[in-house]
């Protein structure tokens, strides 16, 4: 039974001899007060037990490789295996981060070329690959905005404007950078409320953080106007690249007027989500923010590649990771970008949009209610089940859990917070029409079940390894680490 914890397996003294050096006495040169005496409660299991335990645990996951996974705003598209294999090549995997540049021309060439490609697709002047996730990319971006104003001695700007629909990372990032957050309303059509924006904008405005297309699944049609207003007020525009997949090769953030952008390579560039990372959140900037980019970056001169560090970038916001960020992830993104190629970039957005609009249309015809009717879906779209809930008591959570029973990962639910009972659905371009049609059929069944047997949905899921999980109890009766029962301690 895979539910038995790894700590409950095994036996005291069981070891895997091939995996460890031969035993040695405790070192005599370390003072005894500094030697560990406390027991170390790691499992004592055989290699076979470990392989069997985690293989079977893995089977208790949904994943892109096993299920359609239309988790809105996460771009769960196919992660090419070729990228994984390439990043694990010994020459890459075994290279020490402090090894000299002379021993890293291969990996540096890949990183440099990735920088160049990302500059192109974002319309930015320079890119630093070092942020280790989208949120760290956001941090870098806002920290650069802060550094820019500080460098100009423009010190009164202490506010960042953020639309209400934004990812939670946006306000959290602004706060980490010492900014006050002003949230801006969104209109009923999904675009930013320009009146509210006008009211908020002013001499305290350091910048505006925007995702476009937004987390509502629509492209803000007034982006040029917005950019003009923010710039006129002396602020800068930050582009959250969470939804870049929607516009890749179609429109560049730089052309929309953004001064700084981060990308989520684990979304748009198909690096794996890994059960929650590692991601990679490169940042790109326009002219004004060039001096402030985080280090290290990769430079090229006469066919040789080298690290650009704080030594030549005195105004850099600094380092964000000990070494150079998630290089292994960057290599995967590089492989993906080369496989997709020039023409392929624009195709990604084309087909991400096609799948999203097709799915939106089919679900609408079933009777599901779009949160922003009449708008084109970007690469994702938002449904609201407010009406369904009023009619049947069935919530977005119930629909999500029932989808699991039918072999589909649930969409993102209850986000953005401002839309009641919402489902944010992102099919991605790598799903085929057959798979999307299967999802539509499942949603149709659920809609029928909601009307006829809502209790079936309230109790879902029924066919997964566990029934519905009690999250309230988890937070109240905290059980975060396993403790041996007294008898087995």
């Amino acid at each position: 039974d895979p539910r038995v914890l790894i700590f409950e397996r095994g036996a005291p003294g069981r070891v895997n001899a091939p995996q460890m050096p031969r035993p040695l006495a405790p070192p005599a040169d370390i003072p005894s007060t500094l030697l560990r005496r406390a027991p170390l409660a790691l499992p004592q299991v055989s290699e076979l037990q470990v392989v069997r335990h985690y293989t079977r645990l893995s089977q208790r996951n949904f994943a892109i490789d096993t299920h359609f996974y239309p988790l809105g705003s996460c771009t769960m598209k196919y992660n090419p295996r070729a990228a994984h294999v390439a990043a694990q090549l010994p020459g890459f995997a075994n290279r020490h981060p402090l090894a000299p540049e002379s021993t890293g021309q291969g990996v540096l060439a890949c990183l440099f070329e990735l920088q160049e490609m990302l500059k192109d697709v974002t319309g930015m002047r320079a890119v630093s690959l070092t942020p280790m996730a989208g949120a760290q990319g956001e941090f870098a971006g806002v920290a650069m905005i802060r550094a820019y104003h500080a460098a100009r001695n423009d010190l009164a700007r202490d506010e960042i404007l953020i639309p209400k629909a934004a990812h939670g990372t946006n306000p959290a990032t602004a706060a980490m950078c010492g900014y006050r957050v002003r949230e801006i309303d969104v209109r009923a059509d999904g675009d930013i409320d320009l009146v509210a924006l006008n009211a908020a904008i002013g001499p305290r405005t350091a910048g505006l953080m925007l995702t476009n297309p937004s987390t509502l699944g629509v492209f803000d049609r007034h982006i040029e106007d917005i950019a003009q207003r923010v710039h006129a007020a002396g602020g800068l525009l930050y582009y959250d690249g969470a939804n870049l997949n929607a516009i890749l090769g179609q429109v560049k953030p730089g052309d929309m007027g953004f001064d700084v952008v981060h990308l989520n390579l684990h979304k748009t560039f198909a690096t794996p989500h890994g059960g929650g990372g590692p991601g990679a959140g490169p940042v790109g900037v326009g002219e004004r923010l060039l001096p402030f980019l985080p280090v290290p970056m990769v430079g090229e001169s006469g066919g040789r590649y080298y690290w650009i560090t704080e030594k030549t970038r005195p105004q850099s916001i600094g380092r964000l990771s000990t070494f150079a960020g998630n290089v292994g992830v960057l290599l995967r993104a590089y492989v993906y970008a080369r496989l997709v190629g020039r023409e392929g970039m624009a195709r990604i957005a084309h087909y991400a949009a096609l799948n999203a609009n097709y799915l939106l249309e089919r679900l609408s015809r079933l009777g599901f209610e779009p949160a922003y009717p009449g708008r084109r879906a970007a690469h994702e779209f938002l449904l609201t089940l407010k009406g369904l809930k009023e009619r049947t008591g069935v919530t977005a959570l119930d629909v999500a859990k029932r989808l699991l029973d039918k072999g589909y990962h649930a969409p993102t639910i209850y986000f953005p917070l401002m839309v009641p009972e919402c489902l944010l659905i992102e099919p991605t371009e790598t799903e085929s029409r057959d798979e999307i049609d299967g999802f539509v059929a499942a949603m149709a069944e659920i809609l029928a079940e909601a009307e006829t047997t809502p209790e079936l949905l309230k109790a879902a899921p029924h066919t997964l390894p566990v029934r519905r999980v009690d999250e309230v109890r988890a937070a109240r009766a905290l059980d975060l680490v396993w403790k041996a029962h007294p008898a087995s301690a």
Binding site: L71, L98, T430
Partner: protein
């Protein structure tokens, strides 16, 4: 079309369903003047065979070296099973386990991981990872400031990894937090005597063990001093060291928070990442801990089940008042680390630590036997990494060793001007006595013959491949 399954017929039928006349039509809400022309810096698509060949060529060009560099990233044996398991599609291509019922595999694994880390560092609870060791330390500094509530000054010894100090500076500086540098004494450790006066009114004290120079700090006294001053103690540790030396939870009255770089637990060196940061703390601090946390609970049938918990701390709920902006963490590396720790077990981890330490001790002894080479801190206890002073310029030595296929260590001059003549060297359990003798042999040749020939002449006729 790479990774796009649509046939022309499907595209046409789907377009018709949407009412759009063309794929471009789907973008008709975007102002036309903003639409991009062709990309100019993205090359044409390669086939998988072509990119595979290119990547093999580039990886081969980077070569393989006999590595004696540590300085924050350590070459350890990684069992083959680790990445064979972590690379399984069910782990590799899942996301953060938002839907608990469809993610019990990842969730149970994370609960096991939290348990392993908590035991390793001797504290009550752990989170499910942060980005890397340096950013984890930054988060710990922020957490200490939140917990303390009154002070925004945190003490950070000069013996903390210089790059970590840079990262912490980058991350905490915008929040008006002051990092107060505690100087190093002549033994390569923190001057505990001078600590008391600095501690007064501080929020936190960072304590590295071993420190960046491989030296062991007087951690018991440092934590005791911090506790006495009402300052939160943040242990910064190497997880392998924790198997052999006293863990942060047992330093004096016990650290409040422990963080570290998880790379030695199953992550390949990979030019610097992806690695993962780990963080543990006392139970009473858990609501100020950043990052994902998994809890054990029950399902509707009363059976044990796992889920993300304490999400009210996190950005997607609390937004600008969250404990951190972190969202995606380093899940896949944590998967590998959990398998890695399970395979090694307590005895394995202890043996790795003991062997790494013994090898570095042997390396030190062999190198000290070379005329002019001497340990910088001969009387300070250390763990698996030591500073050596050299009689010849360090960069020249490193270049000459590189020509022999050896990466000889980390040049300290870049970080500590007073140690321009010093090399930080490390031999983990992966090095054999032959490897160490090989290094000593070449270093001796380089040191003793340097006035006779230019460095390139040191190249051995028959270099030993690592």
């Amino acid at each position: 079309m790479p990774f796009i399954p649509h046939t022309a017929a499907e595209t046409a039928a789907m377009l018709e369903a949407t009412g759009a006349r063309s794929l471009d039509d789907l973008f008709d809400e975007i102002p036309a003047r903003l639409r991009s022309g062709p990309l100019t810096h993205v090359p044409e698509a390669l086939t998988e065979h072509e990119i595979g060949r290119l990547m093999r060529e580039r990886a081969a060009a980077d070569g393989e070296f006999l590595t004696f560099v540590g300085a924050g990233a350590y070459e350890h044996h990684i069992p083959a099973a680790v990445w064979e398991i972590a690379g399984r599609g069910e782990f590799y291509t899942a996301y953060t386990p938002y839907q608990a019922e469809a993610s019990q595999g990842t969730l149970q694994l994370l609960y096991e991981f939290q348990t392993m880390i908590a035991s390793l560092v001797g504290l009550d609870v752990a989170n499910a990872s942060l980005y890397d060791g340096a950013s984890a330390l930054a988060e710990a500094v922020l957490m200490a400031v939140r917990l303390h509530g009154r002070s925004r000054r945190v003490l950070i010894p000069e013996t903390v990894h210089p790059l970590y100090r840079q990262v912490v500076q980058t991350i905490v500086s915008a929040q008006a937090i002051t990092l107060d540098l505690v100087p190093m004494d002549g033994a390569g450790t923190t001057d505990v005597g001078g600590l008391a006066s600095r501690l007064a009114g501080a929020a936190g004290l960072v304590i590295p063990q071993p420190n960046f120079l491989g030296c062991l700090e007087d951690v018991h006294a440092m934590v005791a001093a911090a506790r006495a001053a009402g300052v939160l103690a943040i242990g910064l540790v190497n997880p392998i060291a924790c198997a052999l030396i006293v863990p942060p939870g047992e330093w004096g009255p016990g650290c409040d928070i422990a963080v570290g770089e998880g790379q030695p637990l199953g992550a390949p060196l990979s030019s610097g990442g992806p690695y993962f940061g780990f963080m543990a703390c006392r139970r009473e601090h858990v609501r100020q801990m950043p990052g994902r946390i998994v809890g054990r609970t029950v399902d509707a049938a009363g059976h044990e089940a796992y889920t993300l918990t304490l999400q009210a701390r996190e950005q997607h709920i609390r937004r600008s008042r969250a404990t951190s902006n972190i969202c995606t963490n380093q899940g896949l590396l944590v998967t590998a680390a959990t398998v890695h720790m399970a395979l090694l077990g307590p005895e394995g981890l202890r043996r790795v630590a003991a062997a790494a330490h013994a090898n570095t001790a042997m390396l030190r002894a062999r190198l000290e036997a070379i005329p002019g080479v001497r340990a910088a801190f001969p009387d300070t206890p250390f763990f698996h990494e030591v500073v050596l002073r050299l009689p010849v310029p360090v960069p020249e030595v490193l270049r000459a060793l590189e020509a022999q296929g050896i990466l000889g260590g980390c040049a300290l001059g870049e970080f500590y001007p007073a140690f321009a003549d010093s090399l930080l060297v490390c031999a983990t359990e992966t090095k054999t006595e032959t490897d160490i003798a090989h290094y000593a042999h070449h270093l001796e040749r380089i040191v003793t013959r340097r006035r006779l020939d230019p460095p390139c002449a040191y190249k051995d006729d028959n270099p030993r491949s690592p």
